[in-house]
Amino acid sequence: MADAAPINPDIELVARTQDGDARAFDELVVKYSPRLYGLVYNMTSNHEDANDLLQDVFAKAFRSIKGFRGKSSFYTWIHSIAVNMTINFLKKRGRRFQMSLDDVDLNIQNDKEFIELTASSSPVREADLGELQQKLNESMLKLSPEHRAVVTMFDIQGMPHAEISKILGISEGTVRSRLFYAHRQLQAYLEEFRKK
């Protein structure tokens, strides 16, 4: 006899929250805040905006969780709230903002891809980390909010196309075409840092 499918712990936490147990929602906040912070921060390039938006995302999710029927996973649902709220925020914010970037974790020095990128004769090697971070964020900010969302979820957070399409409510083909277009734009902005 086959083993029963593992039960998603989120389902129980959501049910408890719907029954009025606020501590169950706290567990969901603790579980999802690092991942959602990464999503919102990489779309806004501003720590304070990311913090305020993330607070609003969880507040909205808490207010509307009674209407959540579990047709999608809680993961997809909360991510779609975060992406939609961030896109709306970016459209309102326009060009009036300043970057306020988080520090780069020094563990980056041990990252396989970073080592590869800073290998001999690579332009990344000559640039200091701060400069590279600044340039990456400037390049991201030149993309439209919708393209930035796809790049953040796919390239930075490593989500599969199918998951991104569910979160954004668009087809996988549209996800791929947005990625292609965004990469082509970023290629021009990041030319000086690419391997020769």
């Binding site: 706290d26 906040v29 603790v30 805040s33 690092p34 912070y37 990464g38 921060y41 990489n42 720590h47 913090n51 993330l54 607070q55 969880f58 507040a59 909205k60 808490f62 207010r63 509307s64 969780i65 009674k66 209407g67 959540f68 029927r69 047709k71 999608s72 649902w77 970037l101 988080d102 520090d103 780069v104 974790d105 563990n107 980056i108 990252d111 891809e113 970073f114 590869e116 990128l117 990344v124 590279l132 971070q133 990456l136 991201m140 790049v151 390239d155 930075i156 957070q157 490593g158 409510g169 668009i170 292609f180 990469h183 082509r184 970023l186 290629q187 990041l190 840092f193 690419r194 391997k195």
Partner: protein, 152 residues
């Protein structure tokens, strides 16, 4: 765009994973959330909470295009109902103003004395179609439009 270029861009972007908030940030995040949540519960009106719940109920899993389709259909139905309503109501309002029942006020009756000198021909009963026909100008008790062109 070459696959190699694409991979280089992806590798560069992946370095952004190392941008991290201060270590204590996530420890304080929950406390800040609870504090803000309590403060907001005192401010938020009930209708806003109801709208959020409706959004969650209908918005979940509903692809954007279905949402747009439903919204467009709703707008078209509303427009159709409104235009039918306007077409039906307008002629009734015209008839009501031309044939208002009941006695006129005394002052108005006095000012309409010329009615007795003008002999109107036996016109057909006023209908919706008649109200849209050409206007008739009355001269010497005969509508001008009844005169033959040669009589001028």
């Amino acid at each position: 765009m070459k696959q190699e270029d694409n991979d280089d861009i992806s590798k560069l972007l992946r370095l952004k994973r190392f941008e991290q908030p201060p270590p204590e940030y996530f420890e304080n995040f929950l406390q800040e959330f609870q504090h803000r949540q309590r403060a907001q519960m005192l401010r938020d009106p009930a209708w806003r909470i109801a709208i959020d719940r409706l959004w969650a109920f209908f918005g979940e899993q509903m692809p954007a295009r279905i949402g747009y389709g439903l919204a467009s259909t709703a707008v078209l139905v509303a427009a159709a109902i409104t235009s039918f309503h306007i077409l039906e109501v307008q002629p009734v309002a015209e008839v009501a103003t031309t044939a208002a029942p009941g006695p006129a006020p005394a002052a108005q009756t006095a000012s309409l004395d010329f009615d007795s000198q003008v002999q109107l021909p036996n016109l057909p009963a006023m209908t919706h179609t008649a109200s849209f026909s050409q206007p008739r100008y009355v001269m010497d008790a005969r509508p001008v439009s009844y005169e033959l062109p040669s009589s001028f």
